[in-house]
Symmetry: C3
Subunit: 270 residues, 3 copies
């Protein structure tokens, strides 16, 4: 049984504490906040961050609520990926992390019921949609507690879950790489202003110490930020394994004028 | 005995870690951060958030420090509300949450003493007012650890606490509802920009799918944000059970030009 | 053995969760976030905050990554200070906290190895520098888990650590105090806008209720913020024990036009 429940959302504060509180009504297991400032209502960029962080955990139940469609007829789902389970809205946000965690994923729909819970037993299972605007508290938190309780092997037979083959997928754009050129896309900008592309670092791995041309501008390719002077731009291969646009002690996204979703062309020496 | 101590403040970072550290000198029990970015030195709006979140926890000790009067002669208090205990300054911030947690509340004054603690035993009880500016660390954190240790049944006889019938109350403004009209007040604006009013949702419950007039402007009333197009305003009944001014994937507070404390007039169809 | 591992960084979000995740692969011990919004790439101001908060913890392993030189040849170190261990880059950021924790400090270099870890065993020891940009995840988190495992008494003989007498020190500027005058430096500005100087409060302790002249401007010296009207400036002795420039319910750094590193002259009455 997973020992940890992780929590991710774009809720800011203090709503995540209500999810923690509801889970605490069921279980004393450890709760770990991954982030609650994921890009607000931005499913794809949030999915990127979940894919980069969740696989480092030992087997766990991962609650992740980035849910612009809350209260519509989008499903709430549990995704099994190996010994991990991911819980959230059926809008694709869980899929890239699940696929990195395991080759095979199985998806279950959460059968929530209309109407408030009677009395003080707020965490009935299957969950009740007490509100149409805060399913993090009213649907996903009870689901996380339930999945923690039954374990991934119990998903198949739980009376609040229904196996489904239909769910929203989500794929990041693929780069076009040809010879010594690539056309890539910025998948995310981190808090330091580093712009993470989808171009795998392996393509430029032989050129560290040299330069890469970014949309016509020649930029040093270095292994670390501090290999150029403070304030100077560089390309590096970041912790995600992809080419990253950066500035030593500055913001690469500003220096290169790029944001999530922007395309750029890279070319490198022979 | 409560298994959890929750921590809330307007301290930002890193001061809350000093409260955690002091509590850890006494007890290894679980510490849960509710929020440390509560509206800075805004007692009423912080009290609203505490009321909305704390009641979802199982019985717990709740430390909550929003304390513009730190170092003055305002008291430090413990409030018993059923199996919960709330600890903080006597400025009303604890009262709405306590009254939602239990019908009866009992209040105890924390008898802190002047002067620094001798040696390294920083967490003496009753607490010493080592600083006049950080009672979160020097008074409230030791008090939370102490209350966790003795439990709510030990409050009556603790030598650092004195029962008191006098304490600052705090009540939110009440809406005026008459027929198909209401005059309400914005109690809080959340991180998404949703403006939460004090008008109970039950008054408009029969009008979902229709419209509500807000200060002369007709606005759709919907169960979920995504029931209108992105960028469009709507009224909904939020997770707090009250009428809420919102924009799908936008900020209701901007669209309606309202902030905490503002009044507005609502009317709805027959 | 220390029961707690604390985590501090300037990473923002969500990178700290990857450090937590890696540590969780080794140990279920409690992880406490001190702050992840320490002044970005500002070693001295971050060192100040670590010195102010970490000593309040019972014996612990403290991971602290403010690391503008990540990926260069700066060392990664473990500092033993009494029953505490501090882990981070060798740039001085750990030193003021360590010196406050204990009179004697012993320093060990972490012997990380080049290249990715084989297979899924990401937390091999000694650590591998899988990335040159995220040693928090790839070097310091495994080191924190390892130090927790072996305890401070195991540092001397661990095969991934080498005792070293050479490490970067860091000292805060000292104030010049002469008679009733002092020239001091702002060490940090906190989230409330309080500007914390390096001038010990003891020098003005007899003048509470009177005034202090700050760069030619006479300002009330009070024990608490609320002793002046809201919006009015004051000097106080803050929770750090030093003279602090503040505004009741406002920002002292704005009112006095000062920032970290600025100097100012204080004089007080006879």
């Amino acid at each position: 049984m997973a020992a940890v429940i992780t929590l991710s959302s774009d809720f800011g504060s203090p709503y995540p504490a209500a999810m923690r509180a509801v889970i605490r009504q069921w279980t004393a297991t450890e709760l770990v906040d991954v982030a609650h400032d994921l890009p607000r209502q931005h499913v794809a960029e949030s999915a990127f961050w979940l894919r980069e962080v969740l696989p480092y955990f030992p087997p766990a139940v991962h609650l992740a609520v980035i849910d612009p469609g809350v209260g519509t007829d989008r499903d709430a789902i549990v995704v099994r990926a190996g010994a991990h389970a991911l819980i959230g809205p059926d809008n694709g946000v869980l899929v890239p992390a699940a696929r990195r965690l395991a080759d095979r994923v199985d998806v279950y729909r959460i059968d929530s019921r209309d109407g408030a819970v009677e009395g003080t037993d707020r965490t009935a299972w299957p969950p009740r949609t007490e509100s149409a605007t805060f399913h993090g508290r009213d649907v996903f938190a009870p689901a996380a507690a339930r999945v923690h309780e039954i374990g991934v092997d119990g998903l198949e037979t739980d009376d609040g879950l229904t196996p489904t083959g239909e769910y929203e997928s989500l794929a990041f754009p693929e780069p076009t790489v040809s010879g010594r050129e690539a056309t890539g896309t910025v998948l995310a900008v981190d808090g330091f202003g580093n712009a993470v592309t989808n171009v795998p670092g392996e393509h430029v791995a032989d050129h560290f110490g040299g330069a890469v041309t970014v949309d016509g501008r020649s930029v040093p390719l270095r292994r670390s930020y501090a290999a150029v002077e403070p304030g100077q731009p560089l390309l590096t291969v970041g912790s995600h394994g992809n080419v990253e646009l950066a500035v030593n002690q500055g913001r690469g996204s500003d220096a290169f004028g790029v944001d999530t979703g922007d395309q750029l062309r890279l070319s490198w020496g022979e």
